[in-house]
């Protein structure tokens, strides 16, 4: 019975990872398109260099291959919860700034926000499967947006979307690692042990 449960959990995990990979792939594609729209609508230079933005989860990681499955899930979950809040802020600012004048950008932002929310839920499911359960969201809200000029807000938004695009690639890789069977078994490794 226990073995059957394990197999069922392993299959569920693999299924969630596969769907998560597809979701992350679609999300990345949409974020890349959103970046083009954002740069154009906000009158920015696509090659503009944006310094690290405070409060934006940075996708860059050292020793990525050494992370455990649980580490991967927790870092992903923390990042996407923050992106969910950041995108909501951006959507609100964009609506205040442009009103209904630019629905294209607004709709694109909203679509990506929806995908980020869906992916966040997906990650929470994976963590539940681990019997860890996702950490609570208390205190996970990003700090309130600092008082910035319009141009600074636009640059900040560019930074948010760029990091989100990187995260989407990283998440795809993380989920593939999670979906890999452990050596000597045909089912995915348990999250605690798998790098």
């Amino acid at each position: 019975m226990a073995a059957a449960d394990n197999t069922s959990a392993a299959l569920r995990r693999r299924d969630l990872c596969s769907r998560g990979i597809r979701l992350a792939g679609k999300m990345r594609s949409d974020v890349v398109d959103l970046l083009d729209t954002y740069v154009e609508r906000q009158g920015l230079d696509a090659s503009a260099s944006v310094a690290a933005v405070e409060g934006v989860p940075v996708a860059a990681v050292e020793r990525w291959d050494e992370q455990t499955g649980t580490q991967r899930l927790l870092e992903n979950l923390a990042a996407y919860r923050t992106f969910r809040a950041l995108l909501a802020q951006m959507l609100e600012e964009q609506q205040e700034q442009l009103g209904e004048a630019d629905t294209t950008l607004g709709q694109a932002l909203a679509a990506v926000l929806l995908q980020v929310s869906a992916f966040t839920y997906h990650l929470e499911e994976l963590l539940r499967l681990e019997s860890r359960g996702p950490p609570s969201e208390e205190g996970a809200e990003p700090p309130p947006a600092p008082h910035l000029s319009l141009f600074e807000r636009k640059l900040r938004g560019l930074g948010v979307l760029r990091e989100l695009a990187q995260w989407a690639v990283r998440s795809t890789r993380d989920l593939r690692q999670l979906a890999k069977p452990s050596p000597g078994s045909s089912s995915p490794a348990s999250l605690a042990e798998s790098p």
């Binding site: 860059a60 760029r162 690639v169 890789r173 890999k180």
Partner: protein
């Protein structure tokens, strides 16, 4: 006997003969002894001269002299071995001085052992106008009467480096990337290259490859970074320097090597199929975590237009719309599933779909066809040529094909 003292830097004596005859003696100088006589600064004084004392036997003294001469000649030649090299630009005017010789000294210049005409001399200076590459070589100056070598240099004519071409690429993501470079035009003189790699505020080490020498590789310390990499290559030679900088994202330079071991085979009993298989490039370190997708292209040799198929997984594909009997050329390219660019095309492979063996024909027309097929070189195979591109597979069309083939066979017989 020559009483010249050795230069002050000598610490010992190379030759010191102690003769059997007790009346002869030979002294060696040690460092610190001064010589009241002039010493040639360039050549120094030969070491180990014997001095003083009577020599009862003339043979040893002659020996000593001969040896001394040998040493002098050797020293003259080899004092120039750690050669002076002189680099000059193509088109420059070059003036060479004959060491410390006065301007009005009588000298002879040679280039690679060949005397240089006096028209190139201004006093004892050698003047070379608008030098070109063919004038690279060894230039020597000899004192007029004694033929003592007074100066020698190796002239290398070349150019300062133009802006180098730099390319960086990751064919083994996520391990790292490499940068390679070359000069657009040769300089004809030695160049040294220095490369720096900066990621944000961090300077990274680019380890030079043993082979090829114009390449180095960097290990990724971070993945998924939005911070760009900045690579600066500086090339320097004796005539100048130049540099170039490349700035890029981690993802942008990812380009796998082409797939390997591409194999294409006919499928038995399937005249329109070809089975193609390949392997991931061996340089791609972890295809399971970083899977590749593939692009397959194929065409019959007789056509210029390629057919393309993109494959998101797997390392094999069956072509199902090949023209029967036609030889195909097939290639495959690879790309990381998520980032980067397509590899170059793989080595091309050739394959022809399976064709049915010609059946043994027993009717008169079939005998005629067989005869004509064995004697005519220009008759098309009855099963293929007629049923060419766009042919519909079906029993009616097959019958038409056979009929047409028989007609053609009959014509063939008539023409022979």
């Amino acid at each position: 006997m020559d009483d010249r003292a050795p230069p002050g830097n000598l610490t010992g004596c190379l030759f010191c003969f102690v003769e059997e005859n007790p009346r002869s003696e030979c002294k060696c100088w040690s460092s610190g002894q001064k010589n009241p006589l002039d010493v040639d600064e360039k050549l120094g004084t030969p070491q180990g001269h014997c001095t003083g004392g009577e020599m009862a036997n003339p043979v040893p003294s002659a020996c000593c002299v001969v040896l001394a001469v040998v040493v002098v000649v050797y020293a003259q030649r080899h004092s120039q071995q750690d050669s002076h090299i002189q680099y000059e630009r193509v088109g420059a005017d070059v003036t060479m001085k004959c060491g410390s010789m006065d301007w009005d000294a009588a000298v002879t210049w040679t280039a690679n052992g060949t005397d240089i005409d006096a028209s190139h001399l201004n006093g004892s200076y050698l003047i070379l106008k608008k030098v070109d590459l063919t004038q690279s070589g060894q230039y020597s100056c000899y004192e007029g009467s004694s033929w003592h070598l007074k100066y020698q240099t190796y002239l290398r004519v070349g150019t300062p480096p133009k802006e180098p071409l730099l390319m960086c690429r990751s064919n083994n993501y996520p391990k790292g990337f490499y940068c390679s470079w070359h000069l657009p035009t040769p300089t004809y003189i030695p160049n040294s290259f220095n490369i720096s790699v900066i990621h944000g505020t961090r300077e990274m080490v680019c380890e030079k490859d043993v082979f090829p020498k114009n390449r180095c590789h960097i290990r990724y310390l971070q993945l998924f970074s939005t911070v760009k990499y900045k690579v600066t290559l500086t090339v320097t030679n004796a005539l100048g320097k130049n540099s170039t900088t490349a700035t890029f994202d981690e993802f942008a330079i990812v380009k796998p090597d082409p797939p390997e071991s591409v194999v294409a085979k006919p499928v038995p009993n399937n005249p329109r199929r070809l089975e193609v298989s390949w392997q991931n490039p061996s340089s791609w370190p972890d295809p399971e975590s970083f899977p590749l997708k593939f692009f397959l292209r194929y065409r019959p040799l007789i056509l210029d237009q390629w057919q393309h198929v993109e494959l998101s997984d797997g390392t094999s594909h069956t072509i199902t719309d090949a023209y029967a009997g036609k030889e195909y050329i097939i290639q495959v390219a690879a790309k990381d599933n998520d980032i980067g660019t397509w590899s170059d095309w793989s080595v091309a492979v050739h394959a022809t779909p399976w064709t049915e063996e010609p059946k043994h024909l027993t009717t008169e027309a079939q005998v005629t066809e067989t005869t004509s097929a064995s004697t005519s070189s220009f008759m098309p195979p009855p099963t293929t040529k007629i049923c060419d591109k766009g042919a519909v597979v079906g029993s009616g069309a097959v019958a038409v094909c056979w009929t047409a083939g028989l007609v053609l066979a009959a014509y063939g017989v008539l023409f022979i």
